[in-house]
């Protein structure tokens, strides 16, 4: 079942189409990566989903029902450009934002202290936001986003501004939220976090969706049937259907070769063939990284 469906969304700003008939299908309980180069329309799509702006055409469905204004309370949104009231105290601000999302006061206070503890911020409860470092402000905003236990979380570039340790803390929290049943839409340029976190992705480029599916499917689709083999001794001539792309020696008799299978044979067939000729140290299928897929698709489009 899909947690969120956006169907045929079109949005034009004066003289410029930002989204051109874009549809996305976000499966329930997944981490869905919304990828694309700058200016592809990711943030506009997110703003349409969060009802900050209206689409010119198209519809958004939340859990199979057309989204109503009141559904906004079931969505947690962390915008890319972060903002908090600078002159409000941390605790006060979190309480305010939680109560706006409809969390009862006592519940909210309990949750705030829980989360502040978890992210090591409990001693900042009574400090003004403007006294906090940027990273801390980001954490506060992250807490504000997830405090109402939203069904759907939309995180626009959640890791910018975090050091690697805090980025890891946030990553773990995101995974835990997914495990607890939340669906997460996650917009980013950072491909390594996509690789690590996302189950599904959609790739937007120049206002259009150019790719969508589960990470595994996409990777499979982009497999080039190329294998990376490390071996002692030279392989020499290969039979029909196997093509040596490159072979480099490291100087002590060990070679690293890339072999492409072009006749529909499998990895085992290749292995059988070369095992007779050389001693194989490692044998790995070369699967394209998300980064490679991203770059090739964007350049292509």
């Amino acid at each position: 079942m899909e947690a969120l469906i956006a169907k045929n969304i079109t949005k034009e700003f004066i003289g410029h189409t930002t989204l051109d008939d874009v549809s996305i299908y976000v499966p329930e309980g997944s981490i869905y990566g919304l990828l694309g180069p700058n200016g592809a329309g990711k943030t506009t799509l997110i703003r349409i989903i969060t009802q900050i702006i209206a689409a010119d055409a198209g519809e958004v469905f939340l859990a199979d029902k057309k989204m109503a204004p009141s559904d906004i309370f079931r969505i947690g949104y962390l915008p890319e450009e972060r903002g908090l009231y600078k002159k409000m105290k941390v605790g006060e601000q979190l309480l305010y934002l939680a109560r706006l999302k409809g969390v009862p006061k006592t519940d909210a206070i309990r949750k705030i202290s829980l989360w502040l503890n978890k992210l090591d911020l409990e001693q900042w409860w009574d400090k003004n936001i403007q006294d906090l470092s940027k990273g801390m402000q980001q954490k506060i905003q992250f807490i504000a986003t997830i405090m109402a236990d939203p069904q759907l979380l939309i995180l626009d570039e959640p890791f910018t501004g975090f050091d690697p340790i805090n980025a890891n803390v946030i990553k773990d929290e995101i995974l835990q939220l997914r495990d607890e049943g939340a669906t997460i839409i996650f917009s980013t340029h950072r491909m390594e976090s996509v690789e690590e976190l996302c189950d599904h992705i959609a790739l937007l480029n120049k206002s259009r969706k150019i790719l969508e599916g589960s990470k595994q499917e996409i990777k499979d689709a982009f497999r080039s049937n190329t294998f990376s083999v490390e071996h002692h001794g030279e392989i020499g001539e290969l039979p029909e259907g196997f093509e040596m792309c490159s072979s480099n020696s490291n100087g002590v008799g060990t070679f690293k070769s890339e072999i492409k299978i072009s006749n529909g044979a499998g990895g085992n067939d290749l292995l059988k063939c070369i095992i007779e000729k050389v001693e194989v140290i490692s044998f790995i299928e070369k699967i394209p990284t998300m980064n490679e897929i991203f770059i090739s698709k964007v350049n292509e489009g």
Binding site: Y77, E81, Y85, M88, T145
Partner: protein, 327 residues
């Protein structure tokens, strides 16, 4: 509705706790109280006795300058240069020199002083000289003062307000003044707090928190909460001003022993009139004005203020909303 209240209370509390609000709330009444009390207090202060030396070359004004509580006139016969010297050497602070003048075209009268003379002092000298010269000219032309005085008519229209069933004396001047002050206050409050809404919106837009807020509440609720919250801050300030002004005025009145009900001497320039005291009618008039000020219907004024403040404030809000939706 609950959300509106939440936003309202945040807007209200954040602003009421601001240092600028507290400072303005305290300074406003001090200023008002100062404006009402200080002139009264000052005029009640004993004024140092002034001595004016007069060198009268015409000999016409010798007995005409009458000493008052604060001002003493001494006629001198010494040479003008010597008299001027005395002024510059602080021996005699003030010197009025009346040369032999042509009564038809009096000119050349000079007042020497070693400090800046007060407006009222110079005015007094002027009016005394003027009335004396008029007197002499009247005599010469064969007219009698009584005849002239009889020709002058003074008309006073009493205005009575019958609107509340009881006859109530009203004062057009005071009512107009109160109206002007009220209008100014309403104008000030509407614009000051209207600007506050705009600034609030700008703050939310620049800090981008607006995206988080409008993904939690409807924009209408946000705007409503903001407008009502800031409006409430305005009314709080107005209320505190009114209250503090009363408290400060009353306590100052007690502290300095100033009796506000009494016509304060010095509000008119007539205080130093040669004949000394305020004339009877002037006293009555001042009394009347004070009575009129105290007899204004302040409940009505406050209700009208709140009504117009809210009315103006909400119309301004509509303007802000237009800008908002243009985003």
């Amino acid at each position: 509705m609950n959300k509106v209240f939440l936003i309202l209370s945040r807007e209200y509390l954040v602003r009421v706790r601001k240092r600028s609000f507290i400072v303005m709330t305290l300074l406003g009444p001090l200023l008002f109280a100062g404006i009402t009390i200080v002139p009264v207090w000052l005029s009640n202060q004993a004024i140092e006795e002034r001595v004016v030396y007069i060198k009268d070359e015409t000999g016409l004004f010798r007995e005409k300058f009458k000493n008052t509580e604060n001002t003493r006139y001494i006629f001198v016969e010494i040479d003008l240069e010597a008299a001027k010297e005395n002024v510059s050497e602080h021996l005699t602070p003030n010197l009025l020199h009346v040369p032999a003048i042509d009564l038809e075209k009096p000119s050349g009268i000079v007042f020497y002083s070693n400090s800046n003379p007060s407006f009222s002092l110079v005015n007094n000298l002027k009016s005394t000289l003027k009335s004396e010269i008029e007197e002499i000219k009247l005599d010469r032309s064969g007219l009698y003062r009584v005849v002239i005085d009889n020709l002058k008519v003074s008309i006073d229209i009493d205005t009575i307000n019958l609107s509340e069933g009881t006859e109530k004396e009203s004062n057009v001047g005071v009512a107009t003044a109160v109206g002007y002050i009220g209008a100014f206050m309403t104008y000030f409050f509407i614009f000051y707090y209207g600007t506050q809404i705009l600034r609030g919106v700008i703050e939310e837009k620049t800090s981008r928190i607006i995206e988080v807020i409008v993904s939690s509440v409807k924009p209408f609720q946000l705007m409503m909460g903001k407008v009502l919250g800031i409006g409430a801050v305005g009314l709080t300030q107005f209320g505190l001003w009114a209250l503090l002004t009363i408290i400060i005025s009353t306590s100052l009145t007690f502290a300095f022993g100033v009796e506000l009900e009494q016509p304060p001497a010095g509000v008119n320039q007539v205080v130093d009139m040669p004949d000394g005291e305020l004339s009877g009618t002037d006293k009555e008039k001042t009394q009347e004005i004070f009575q009129a000020i105290f007899s204004q219907d302040y409940t009505l004024i406050i209700i009208a203020f709140i009504f117009y403040f809210l009315g103006g404030f909400f119309s301004l809000w509509r303007l802000v909303c237009c800008c908002w939706f243009c985003y």
